[in-house]
Amino acid sequence: MATGNAQINDFVLKIATVNGSGSASANGLLMKALFRMGIPVTGKNLFPSNIQGLPTWYEIRASREGYNARVSRVDVMVAMNAQTYARDLAEVGEGGYLIYDSTWPRESQLQREGVHVLGIPLSGMVNANFESARVRTAAPIRTLMKNIAYVGALCALMQIDREIVRKLLEETFAAKPKLVEPNFKAVTLGYDYAREHFDCPLRVRAAPMDGTGGKILIEGNAAAALGCLYAGATVGAWYPITPSTSLMDAFENFCNKFRKDPETGENRFCIIQAEDELAAAGMVLGAGWAGARAFTPTSGPGISLMSEFIGFAYYTEIPAVFFDIQRVGPSTGMPTRTQQCDLMTAAYASHGDTRHPVLLPSDPKECFEMAVAAFDLAERLQTPVFVLSDLDIGMNEWMVDELEWDDSYRPDRGKVLTDEDLTRIDQFHRYLDVDGDGIPYRTLPGSHPKGSYFVRGSGHDQYGRYTEDADEYQQVVDRLRLKWQTAKTLVPDAVLRSARGHTDVGIIAFGSSHGATVEALDRLAAEGVDADYLRLRAFPFGKEVEKFLDQHRLVFVLEQNRDAQMRGLLMLELDADPDKLISILHYNGLPVPSDVIVESVTEHIRQGAVA
């Protein structure tokens, strides 16, 4: 069976299961075992918007080069869902393998030339060795153990270190050590069966290497939640929505661990599950106005509901942080699939002339860093700030460099007048541009009476007083535009990766498309096509973006939405030449693979667009 050239540490292992069958822990176990073997890995959930019963997949990509994008190729398929056998078999690449539960033999049905079908009687083995008791979860132990058994089979077939799996089981069940042995027994059942019946290892397999030193596995939402914790956010308000919910769950867990008064047990945080997204936004504004660092995690439909308050915060100049974990739109769209489709919504949320800084993390590490940056920016600029993540980053485990924290960090609270300041000055003017940067001074409730003012979304002058006077109104909104210019100097710069040689071809990408772009650039370079790459990290765009556009004859703009929203923003904000900007669009709800970029760029070369 181990025929042909060995394919080591460069494969896609895909597991097809039934939603709700308890396969998540088995799949996590597999990925972590590979990670501990030193092999760079990423795992992607492809799951339905459904409680249970529908097909769900988990893809593990091992890449000795460290590439983390999704690959539209499957080397080893574990087909645990009879409903999708045909589809799963069709997805396996030439020379690949399909492993299935042969308790009910289907070899006659599961036939495809060039694909090795390996039947393992997983259910049968487990049923013969375990009672049908229920353990921990609602699923019977046999169902759970069936999943653990295929982990064991893969250990034998793909040379995944069984001792590491055992260690991981011991860590997982540290609080319930009695569960370690039955789980390992299931691993052994699968392992032994594979060893006895197949020629192990397969051509596609793992081997220890040293590609994961200094790295961690973490989901973007957990990393963002850690960022909120480390930034000193104390008030979180939210309304449950996929795929942002796990951000607040993680924040609550971290707060329970780190933010309880050791003596009294009192919480140094307040997390409120609001009645809807409108209320969540109102709570964030109320808390931000009162001087707390406050945030809300949501997704596109939530931003739609929050828009009224977002415009209010823009005009009244209240710091607020909004995490938009994007999912597929429009409307309810596909709640469990990924896109980058809320760019325009976030950039200009609400009625009237509004503009908001938007941060664009590319991986969980940047979710952590940009969460902190978002609070600093929101308070420095006194305005709503968006962190635009997506389902791919938010809900999948990514391998990233260990998160770092500098204990000398101090939050930028912006221009807040203290009681001493207020005693010293003659008069406080809420919306006066004292420093010429468009950012006024603010006071917090409960401060010196001289600092009191009225927050109002209606027309106000630079002193904060109600006005319908044409000039006074315009003075305020013109200053807000000046503040936007200041914002350009404060947001994170775009990151340039230059090609080895000179080229007048550029690629612009951002967010979760980064991994695919890096891989595509390497593949293109190997084919002799060089391109410079600018990774956008924020809106508004800084000078370096303008420079990049000026310096390149052709710029491919990669984004995961139908309508080329980023290209639109570049044209709107920088007056970029539309003829120069070529869209590469991927918007089917699955994370973008590098093939899309490579194919699009080479297609242009073929057509002579790129010399």
């Binding site: 990670f35 994961t212 945080f269 109102g282 808390a287 204990d407 960090y409 409960g446 401060s447 009225f454």
Partner: protein, 351 residues
């Protein structure tokens, strides 16, 4: 929303409270509501209540939504921070502000349009969470700012100034708040300062959500046929260069009657409401009894006023949340940040 600063008039012999502040120190900007508006009477009651309690204005936050009622925070306590939010969403902003600064005294002013239609959900959830706020509903049954549409508290059978009849049921904020599990629910009349001031004081002191529904007549009702101050009459008798809005000035309606008594009050449009002050032996602690009393009064076409329901034992938002007694926005950064070493240890579990 007034932008006219009210002149501070000083005269000898003015009374001061424990803080040495006069009533004028608790006032705000000049009201731009129609002369005779009940809301201005409520403002006056608020000024008196805050003065009598000798609260520092800067220790108070006053919040509102949108509407005539929501303008009123501008007319009292100019030394307090104010927040005029969006329509119907005052409660959520107040919740966030309370989450950050539980040491400040929060007062939310809303109206029947603001709280019983667009903001009905937020009103309900502020009550449900027992947010520590004095929540005043200035209730006139009509949308004043958009010129006279029915609000959700308008009685069936009442008519707009255009003569349209309301056929919908009315939402009563009092029975609603009690049903929702409110901890302090009261009703009063804008012109009854004798009753309203003590209710406001009690509401401010209540450690939870104190809802006071204040019936507050709107002078724009004063538009019925035959009135010499109606829109129609004014249009017919004035020859204006352009057609503009006109609201006839009127005087605020005041009432004064004792506990247990019934008082008929004539509103600006000539209609009459019948208020009944609770008897001294009324027990506000039994929800079932209170709801029964309210229903019986409704049958008699009487509106019960006074402190209708009280449950001082109900835990408030921060008790439920287990929040620190020290206000959250007062914590030093070091008290909130776990530091680099903790982050390193935490990540051991991510390998």
């Amino acid at each position: 929303m007034s932008y006219i600063t009210k002149p501070k008039v000083k005269w000898s012999g003015r009374q001061t409270n424990e803080l040495g502040l006069t009533l004028a120190d608790y006032e705000g900007g000049l009201s731009t509501l129609c002369a005779g508006c009940g809301h201005d009477s409520i403002t006056a009651a608020l000024v008196k209540a805050f003065w009598e309690l000798a609260l520092k204005p800067e220790q108070v936050i006053k919040l509102s939504g949108i509407g005539c009622s929501s303008k009123t925070p501008a007319y009292f306590l100019s030394g307090a921070h104010g927040f005029n939010s969006v329509h119907g969403r005052m409660p959520s902003v107040a919740t966030g502000a309370q989450a950050a600064r539980r040491d400040l005294i929060a007062i939310g002013i809303s109206g029947d349009g603001d709280s019983l239609s667009i903001g009905f959900g937020q009103f309900a959830h502020a009550v449900r969470r027992n947010l520590n706020v004095l929540y005043i509903i200035e209730n006139n049954g009509v949308y004043g700012l958009t010129k006279g549409q029915f609000s959700a508290s308008a009685d069936p059978g009442s008519k707009t100034k255009k003569g349209l009849e309301n056929r919908n049921q009315a939402i009563d904020p009092v029975t609603t708040a009690i049903s929702l599990g409110g901890s302090f629910v009261a009703r009063s009349f804008s012109g009854d300062k004798e009753q309203l001031v003590p209710l406001i004081k009690a509401g401010l002191r209540h450690p939870g959500c104190a809802v006071i529904d204040v019936i507050s007549p709107c002078v724009t009702f004063n538009d019925h046929e035959g009135s010499t101050k109606s829109y129609a009459w004014t249009r017919q008798h004035l020859h204006a260069a352009i057609e503009t809005d006109y609201v006839a000035p009127s005087t605020e309606i005041e009432v004064d009657y004792a506990e247990g008594e019934v008082s008929d009050v004539e509103l600006h449009d000539g209609s009459v409401i019948r208020l009944k002050k609770l008897d001294q032996d009324f027990d506000p602690s039994s929800r079932a009894q209170v709801l029964g009393h309210l229903a019986a009064a409704h049958e008699r076409q009487e509106i019960l006023t006074g402190l209708l329901f009280l449950n001082e034992d109900l835990p408030s938002l921060h008790t439920i949340q287990g929040t620190s007694r020290k206000p959250l926005s007062r914590f030093a950064f070091d008290e909130l940040n776990p530091g680099a070493a903790a982050l390193k240890t935490l990540q051991e579990g991510m390998r």
